[in-house]
Assembly symmetry: C2
Homo-oligomer: 328 residues x 2
């Protein structure tokens, strides 16, 4: 099942069911007015939403209309918790090899970063850069979970995953290095994240939603229409269940919590490419002593998309341009 | 005006207006069913809520009932953003003097820590400790802000403050030192925060809401009925407006954002006491080489309260006991 949230002037938008081919949509208000409502009442509304989805895919759905990703807010336009992991250790290894980051990780414990969840931007919205010289992107997968009790096991946590998304975790590198040295996490380094237009139930990923609790699909990233990278999610060093269990060690996770994977990164980064500029710049620095790929520029257009085994886009695309602050 | 949220089985509870003396309350549903609704529609609902408050204080309010803090959820039981500052540099100086924390601050830039906001605990709820050997408390002030645009000035940000609260920022010190060294902020170090029962408009603080954008009132902290400390909020090294402006540097803050001050700390800590165990333990270590004050124990009861110039409690008290996980 695929779900999206359309702009309607309210903070939480209105929930849509979207067809598998992303061509058509229908209002889901008969079952759930918003995505937050759907997640909070999942057991009660899932069957109804699945019924709409089946009818929509069979072209037997009254009220269906053409689906337009530009009218989308984030699938969850805001939520009560957003945590981003750095679950591909390969990315950290490359960064630490290129720069003296002084990061003291404890083996076996994943990096998790508490993030703001009050103001996600739509998948195709122009994105304002307050500072135009150090912007970066990070292509990631993310999951939305239902209520998850404190101290749950990885298995219990995995069973609480309701939906999967993709995102661009926009990052400001000048602040990131400074804030990482300070130790208290990211504030100015991480402006609003941008999620893909459609959140999907895990079954939509087919065999891409693998038994090892990872997503075995490529994150396709392009910059200004040029291929940038296509790292695969299978190399994540912890499963989603393991990441969630670490987060839930001594706190409840409430319905709507979003967990991101961190930038997707593969050991074969030199051939499959990267999902962020910093990693590409770090590889350049390691190989030649000099980073040549520039950070984001005003006018840059980015696209993040993931295709299933049938070659079809699963989540739609994050497809957005960077504009000067005040002109968005 | 004083507002609280009563338990009613829903995630967001029901909004109450509470009398100035904290003795009586009345349902606010005619104007705003929940605190989140009130903050999002402040200009439309404030006058109505103030009218209820005036009638309640004059004992002319039909439907008024005895106010019972034990029935309270957090004033905002959940919200979409919670950031905690470390705005009393004196606390950091003491900690850095006692321990080799390797914190690299940039002069002039305040420490801000992104925190989870999906599951605040009620002011008198029993609080479960998953680990019973390294728990700590931090007595703090906090503000709730309305929508605040990206790149707002400190003056604009200060004007967006709608309500003031107190809280106990429960902390797990074993994780805190580890996570601080790692650099990505706090996850296991910071389980759920506990806010005082009543959120108040700034005018309720009288001259305690000072022209320098700080709270000139003592945070009274007791442990098991024994005085622990009463540091004053006036020594905050940044105003609330300055802290909010740094947070809003490159992102919008959406209605309901909570900003905490970090543990209140004074240069005269040896006489006025501290608002957290770690600071007291650090002072002991600096003076004698050994920390003797123990971390939280199961069964410990904490109380945090702030009194106005008239000697009356402004926010009611955080008054809670620590229990073994699974028995709350």
């Amino acid at each position: 099942m695929k779900l999206a949230t359309y702009r309607n002037g309210s903070r939480d938008g209105r929930l849509l069911v979207v067809s598998r081919d992303l061509q058509r949509a229908v209002d889901a208000a008969a079952f759930a007015p918003t995505m937050q409502y759907a997640i909070e009442h999942w057991d009660a509304v899932e069957a109804g939403l699945q019924g709409l989805y089946a009818a929509l895919n069979a072209a037997e759905c009254p009220g269906a209309f053409v689906f337009e990703p530009r009218q989308c807010l984030s699938p969850l336009p805001r939520t009560h918790q957003y945590v981003d992991a750095s679950a591909f250790l390969n990315h950290g290894h490359i960064m630490e090899q290129a720069y003296d980051l002084n990061v003291k990780k404890t083996p076996g414990i994943p990096v998790l970063v508490q993030r703001q969840s009050d103001d996600f931007w739509g998948p195709c919205d122009d994105y304002p850069l307050v500072e135009a010289d150090n912007g970066d992107f990070e292509g990631e997968f993310a999951v939305i979970v239902d209520d998850t009790p404190m101290a749950s096991t990885p298995e219990v946590c995995a069973g609480k995953i309701r939906l999967v998304m993709i995102l661009n975790d926009v990052s400001m590198r000048a602040h990131l290095f400074r804030e990482l040295q300070m130790g208290f996490g990211f504030i100015n380094a991480k402006p609003a994240s941008v999620f893909g237009p459609v959140a999907v139930t895990p079954d939509e990923l087919g065999e891409g939603w693998a038994a090892d609790g990872r997503i075995h699909l490529d994150m396709q990233v392009s910059r200004n229409g040029q291929w940038f990278g296509q790292p695969n999610g299978r190399e994540m060093d912890w499963s989603f269940g393991e990441l969630l269990a670490r987060l839930a060690l001594n706190r409840n996770l409430r319905a709507g919590t979003i967990l991101g994977t961190g930038t997707v990164s593969n050991q074969a980064a030199r051939t499959v490419g990267s999902a962020c500029l910093a990693e590409k710049r770090a590889l350049e620095k390691i190989e030649t002593g000099e980073s040549v790929t520039p950070f984001l520029k005003i006018g840059d257009r980015l696209r993040f998309e993931v295709f299933g085994a049938d070659g079809r886009s699963i989540f739609g695309a994050v497809d957005h341009a960077f504009v000067p602050f005040g002109q968005q």
